[in-house]
Amino acid sequence: MHSQWRILFLLLASIANAARLTVSIPASPPLLANPATLPSSTHAVLIGPAGVHYDVPIRKDSTFAFGDLAEASYLLTIYSRDYFFPSLRVDVGAAADGSQHQTIQAWQTFRGNEWNNKGPAYGQGRDELKVQVQPTSKKDFYQSRGGFDILGFLKNPMILMGLVSVVFIFGLPKLMDMLDPEMKAEIEEMQRGKRAAPAELQSERDRATSEAVNAVQNFDIASWLAGRSSGGGGSK
């Protein structure tokens, strides 16, 4: 009976001494609207000095509970299948007033930085600390392929130009046919006038320009590639 009480006392004493840390994941819309959807494999790991390694699974109320933490400086990481969480630095130390109690503090920490470089504080407590940690981002596992997109294809200016010219080639004669005969005759008259007119009206310069335009329009790519100038056949 005596021994029983002693063990009980020891147990109570150790509970009183031990710092407890509770990390909870609050609902944080829009990223994680309902933390209850986190899979049960979600767990939190506290890494202390060499050999000290606590690993606790997620509880029903989306918290992680660490009990009985010895005095040390810990790195807290939460691992989940679908989300990234920030890592925290958790310090457990003796209380300043020399009592039996312990202080426990938490800050954000940044990987690759010296351990002293602490981020925003998450909280501070006497023997017990409750902190809330929100996910930073969702894991995106899949690379999508640059697939074929018909709309993107049609937005291409080259394609648009081609389509417009197709419309002109096929659509314009049809449009002409649809006009009434009088109007058609008028337009034809106008065009004939235009074609006939230049002979008299054009200046020297204009004629030169139209010749150049003609040359461009009648450009014979085959003969050019064969090394003949369009001008009259002398090869170099």
């Binding site: 021994s3 029983q4 063990i7 009980l8 899979p39 049960s40 494999s41 767990h43 790991v45 890494i47 000095p49 060499a50 050999g51 390694h53 690993d55 606790v56 699974p57 997620i58 509880r59 029903k60 400086s73 790195l75 990481t77 691992y79 299948r81 679908d82 890592s87 630095r89 920490t109 990987r111 690759g112 930085n113 010296e114 351990w115 002293n116 894991k139 995106d140 596992f141 899949y142 690379q143 999508s144 392929r145 697939g147 074929f148 080639i169």
Partner: protein, 930 residues
Amino acid sequence: MWLHSLQVIFAAACFVRLSAAVFADEAWNVDYHYALLGEPKEETTFFHQPNPSSKASLIYSLSEQGVLGAINPRDGSVVWRQPLLRDDTAQNASFLRAGEDRDVVVSGLGRQVAAWNAADGRLEWDLIVDGDLADVEILALDEGTPTTGAKDVIALSGGEHAAVRRIDGATGAVKWRHPLDGPDVPYQVSASATELYAIALHKTMLGYYKLKVISLDPVTGRKTDEHMLSSESELTTTDTIVSVGANSASPIIAWTDSAASVLKLNVLGTSGVSSFNIDKHGEGAVRRVRMHAPRHSNALAHFLVHYESDTAHWAEVFHIDVRNGKVEKAYSLPKAAGRGAFSTSVIDANVYFTRVTQTEVVTVASASHGILSRWSLQGARVADNSNSTPEPIHAVSEVSFKDNAVSAVRTALYTSTGDWILLRNGSPAWTRPEILATTIAATFAAPAEAEALVKQLQAEAHSNPVQAYSHRLQRHIADLKLLPAILSSLPQRIIDAFFGNSAEGGIGHDGFGFHQIIACATKSGRVVAFDAASPTKILWNRQVADLQPGQSWQPSLYSPRGGVIVVRSRADIGVEYSATDGELLASTLPVAEREVPSSKAMQYTIRSGGLEATLGERSAWHFVPANGETVISLVPRPINDPVASIGKVLGDRRVLYKYLDPNLALLVTGRNASRTASFYVLNTVSGAVIHSSMHTGVDLDAPISSMMSENWFAYSFTAEASDDSPKGHQLVVGELFESLVPNDRGLLSAKANYSSLESGAEPFSLVHTYQIPERISKMAVTRTRQGITSRQLLAVLPDSNALVGIPYGVLDPRRPVHRDPTKDEQMEGLVKYTPVLDFDPKWYLNHQREVVGIKDVETSPALIESTSLVFAYGLDIFGTRLSPSFSFDILGKDFNKFQMLATVAALAVATFVVAPLVMRKQVDQRWKLL
């Protein structure tokens, strides 16, 4: 020069899309995953309804491997899993209990009692006790008022402070604790509706055990009674204690004498012991006696005793008269050949026993021996071509009733082949190869068909032209026989190819080398093989090692040539099996081919903290780590590690020569007192240290993984914090070069020959350290046929339950530090060094899957250069195909056949439409010219 420029272009092309990733359309198709629990234990496996208001039940099991999980009985998928044992080296007793109509399951393992939500597997509470658990029970106490919350848990712990505890089922707080003083060993607890019994083993002077029953008041935990059961000189070991019933109307304890001739029973709370003679049933002694009793306090007090001899099994059903505690035999079930499994189901208060023999599934009620349902066992032969039939080991059943008749029986049966099969009315609904969770060695083997073709081609190449021609003609004529089959399957193949289904046929038709056979050697001495490209079907499963209980083996598997797998245990020659069907090829290798421990092979042993290399009998060299460090691991370069180029082509087309030596190994040593770890690159022939580095503040309890390939190495460790250095996990990558001056081979340039022993040339090494987000427990590297494809470092992340493939370009030690890369470096794909390396989720080969407990990763080249096959084992089995430089030699899923056809069709239409126009224009032009 031409080659160099080609390589530059190639390298640039690779690095432009640096993030080799998992594509959404490949994700669930090219990879495969068996989410396993491990071998289910009979006592910790049951059907239970996670939601008391609904009838749907799940199968819960806590396996030998210490994994707790819930399985959906409909399709065999895992609903949730919790690995309770992070390392399965320690064999602890484990317990799993579920209260009637409660939504929690309570597990006990080691020193931890934990309650888990039955529906989603989240922790409700946990409690660490000060001694290894001997038993965990749920208190089915009828406390008058209907309690809505969880039922309380009784935990019995052993050790120095052996005690019985009552734990609040809702919070996990200890309600009372009753210490068990004295030398007696706590054995089990048992609860009836009103009483609580703790059974301890009392060792007498003569070495026999006596059973001590301690009655406790469930409310206060006070001892109300204590008595010894008269088991005079009967119990020599605890093995002959058959069972201690729990949570029944009248819990019983049963044991036999060591010859298994008499069964003794005691109803707990009484002092009388009933004896029953065990009928021998012909020849063969009774090997094992088991008891199957309902675990419900309101069920009828009936139970079944299951006898097993070497060749047969039978059973007897007993009834307990609750009023006077008398036990009497009701009826017996006839003998059946082979082994059998019995399971108990309770509906309302009625008890039903389901018996699975090798041929049928039979259900009887406990009250009478009339058969309620009988189904013959169909198709439960797991591996048809293995000549041994799987035997039932144990089973759990769920019986459904409709109109007073059995309408369906679902039985989760564990067989001797290590398969967990759900029998729905005698026909298998699904099979889980749980034996693969105990894989300790694995290898890839090319199928024999591919090998046969290679042999024929070789025969043709080595004979004279006329013979070769006739051989070839004969081969093609023989191939013609296959034509009808190919023609008939052609339409289907074309359709499959168009609709994106995999057009990969059987093992025989495999041009890409994806159909490799993976053989896994398990802890229990079996070898299981399946096809890497169609892993849902187990090819064969056979016992290769005859292990006694408690005996272990250290198998190594390898494939010397296609179609053959050699299994060898430590210090054995090895036995050859056919990779395709598991047939034994030769029991021992022919003497001429026997591998004599040759005087030319080096052997490495760890001796007195150091590493010693011996050549034949003589000691070649001895490596003693500094400052009393001990060897942690030695990782050599893989034997088959092809290197495509001896140099690295820089952006300006000059070359950095790699330091390539086939005899490199990475040795890791550590010292716990100073928390230092040293890493040495050794030449394993000469023993020379080629590169070394030491890290301080290393957590030696955390995994230190290392890897060596080609001319580079990688290792990772967990570093401790100091004020001015970061805490966390680090990954170090180093690369060895002959010289750091381009186009210069340093000392080696003048030499025509190279010897490990005489060379004084030491490499120049470049090392980068990266801060990584989590620990890496194991590393491997992708392997391709020629080694042209860039490599990926495969890292097992135990905390994320993932396997990542890190592209080498990200790790490259030549990444420029403190400056932006020059144009030439950009050409190479080098980016500025950043100390923090995040694992992009797109690198997760397992993507959304959770791959738990991976211990090792095997890689194998496919026949095409771009692809490497990856296979990871441990608890789960995971495999995939990787193309680190993308699939440049195969039309992947990104090749859209419809799009291609549509383009061709559009062009054809355009041609037909435009042709008359062009014709008219040409004619017009002729007329104009004339």
